[in-house]
């Protein structure tokens, strides 16, 4: 590829052009049948076919990616797309990669080449897709766990549910490395979210030079922060702080990080689609695990347990949240053997909506 000289760069540099128009990147069969698809069928855990009203077909093979991709691995994908897919490729909203071809005869050779290169085929239909996750220790200043490592450990364990084994319905996993939740953790079937458990420590010397005090005070959702005029700084009311870390985001000298007391929680029962029942938030299942890199064995075991219990007990097409609503949360805790704690009771904003107001419940 021809690189730009400084002169050329100045001349050809453009702003505000937006992304290229997608049409030039559509495989010919997609361009031809745009808006004219009739139905699709799932052929196996990683293959589907879409059929157009014209009779044209497009076969899609889906593979996993670890989200962090080296340029080298992307080139390997592109070589395969050049060989089997007329030079087109697409990615999904959950970091999977899709290889498409109109020619049924090309599907098996495509899969063979993908497998030979070590790509994992799956993620379609009533099973696990890829885990949506955040940057973690790899790249984020606010992370209180690693995202990629924990995801890798979870997917190693749940691997059969991606490549083959069916679940009652599609199951969407997510992981966020702090409560900012840059992934869709608050509305996933099962998600891991990293949490703090200690009131942050304030470096008063740094604070007075680095932070705007009104903004810092305003950043607290529970009004736990007040001015400390003597120190030209702020103070925190320990009883009101619930360790969200928002103050740290606007004012780094308020250090929320505490490697010995930070860890992760597991939430369950969220969904996004409006099918059958409305979209739902994820709710707390397990309030805390210590970080245990590199493989977080206790977290992985707890996740696997919940997925296995769901697989055994839910009805066909029931998402985790729908299954729990049918059987009741008290039954969910019993079936999974998860301990119910004070942390499960909402004392932030939603208590009035979440406490039980009926004398009918299960033992």
């Amino acid at each position: 590829m021809a690189w730009l000289t400084e002169e050329e760069a100045k001349k050809t540099r453009k702003t505000d052009i937006g992304p290229p128009h997608y049409e030039q990147f559509l495989p010919p069969v997609i361009k031809k049948n745009y808006g004219n698809w009739k139905y699709h069928e799932r052929l196996d855990a990683g293959t589907m076919v879409h059929v157009s009203n014209t009779g044209d077909k497009v076969f899609t093979v889906r593979v996993a990616s670890p989200r962090i991709l080296s340029t080298e691995t992307i080139r390997e994908m592109l070589d395969i797309a050049d060989k089997h897919c007329d030079g087109y490729i697409r990615f999904t909203s959950r970091n999977n990669v899709e290889f498409m071809t109109p020619d049924e005869k090309k599907v098996e050779p495509l899969k063979k080449d993908l497998k030979a290169k070590g790509f994992v085929i799956g993620g379609i239909g009533p099973r696990l897709s890829n885990i949506v996750h955040t940057q973690g220790w790899v790249h984020c200043h606010g992370a209180c766990t690693d995202a990629s490592g924990l995801v890798k450990a979870m997917m190693d364990e749940l691997f059969p549910y991606f490549v083959e084994k069916e679940l009652p319905a599609k199951t969407r996993l997510a992981l966020a490395c702090c409560v900012n939740m840059c992934g869709a953790v608050h509305c996933s079937d099962l998600a891991v979210v990293a949490v703090h458990r200690k009131v942050p420590a304030i470096d008063h010397e740094k604070l007075k030079n680095m932070c705007e005090i009104p903004t810092t005070i305003a950043s607290c959702p529970t009004r736990a922060i007040s001015p400390d005029p003597a120190k030209k700084s702020v103070k925190i009311n320990d009883e009101k702080c619930m360790y969200c870390g928002n103050c740290f985001t606007v004012c780094p000298p308020i250090n929320i990080h505490n490697p010995e007391e930070d860890g992760v929680a597991i939430v369950v029962g969220g969904k996004i689609g409006s099918l059958r029942t409305g979209p739902k938030f994820s709710k707390l299942a397990i309030p805390f695990f210590y970080n245990e890199p590199p493989r977080w064995p206790k977290v992985v075991a707890a996740v696997k347990n919940i997925i296995d219990v769901y697989a055994k007990n839910a009805r066909k097409h029931e998402r985790i949240g729908e299954w729990i609503e049918r059987i009741g949360w008290e039954r969910f805790f019993k079936l999974t053997g998860i301990e119910f704690t004070y942390q499960h009771l909402d004392d932030f904003t939603f208590m009035r909506d979440t406490m039980r107001t009926s004398a009918a419940f299960k033992w």
Partner: protein
Amino acid sequence: MAKKYDTPLLDELEKGPWPSFVTEIKKAGKKSEMANDELGQLEKSYRTKRGYWKHGGIVGVLGYGGGIIGRYSSLPDEFPGVAHFHTVRINQPSGWFYSTKALREIVDIWDKYGSGLTNVHGSTGDLVLLGTRTEALEPIFAEYSSRGWDLGGSGSAMRTPSCCIGPARCEWANIDTMEICYQMTQRFQDELHRPAFPYKFKIKVSGCAVDCVAAIARADCSIIGTWKGKIAVDQDAVKWYAKNRMDINKEIVDMCPTSCISYDGTKMTINDDECSRCMHCISKMTKALKPTGEKGVSILVGSKAPIVVGSLLSWVIVPFMKVQPPYDDLYGFIGKIIEWWDENAKPRERLGEVIEMKGMRSFLEHIGVPAQPQQVKEPRKDPFFFWKEEDLKR
């Protein structure tokens, strides 16, 4: 390049059947000292259970206030390769389709100037290039923009809009998500590149209520394709599903939330007046069922993750709006939404939070939308309602 660090903890994550991000970082490390130091610093994080990145600094390219996220290591002497490790967000094409030629160009440029590490894609939808130095940002931007690529949004700005695959490869798309998303991104270029908002503003477009881009959970403005006519039933295809071992009564009829479907063992009947268009039956019997009639969008607003005052799902504001190219009505309407939010929000307040603070009525009146029963799950429970002078005159 040679291996630089021993990484016994991270090496554990190269075992097992799922693709390994550690292998990816090592692959990039063969060519890039930055990637090697990323691995070294990460091993230290695994040892000490903490991150070593500072808050992002203000870095960018000339004329833009966003699109680059500054990132500096807090251990620059120990890991000089990641002393600067900025993120470049490239605005993805609608639906995440690429030609191999275009994507090769993208990775070639990145190998020249950056760490060789990417996220394809980040959570908002951008193609994320992970790790470069401040002095490389201008050359990077010149190379990309000269070849037709632009940066995405970051900071308190319009964030890069994203959409589901829509009509490109989905029979359920009620609207042209890909074109709506492309044109919208073009229309809001200034808002996207020059942060002038109280906080971030996200827009996502899904073609139906299955909502494959999670618009209802992850966008201040969630656009969902829908329809107003009947669901057409192909009775031959219904028979095909019955023959292929689908228990239609159990899986479809009993699971319909409005009980508007009946099946007598041969024929399926839908009482369309009672259908809430949830997509359950259509998604399970896609060969047999198809929405017909007028197509358009439902517009919902306000969803966000927990920071600052708890997570929200988007609320229905406009139950149905007809949309057609060039979509001026839709974009104008979104402009009005943003205007109200921008006027009323404190710093770091998202749209949903401001509506809660100022009241839904204030918002609806500004954008010219009447109150309608489709907007609520149930009417209010308390008797403390406001009256305005004009209400009393009615």
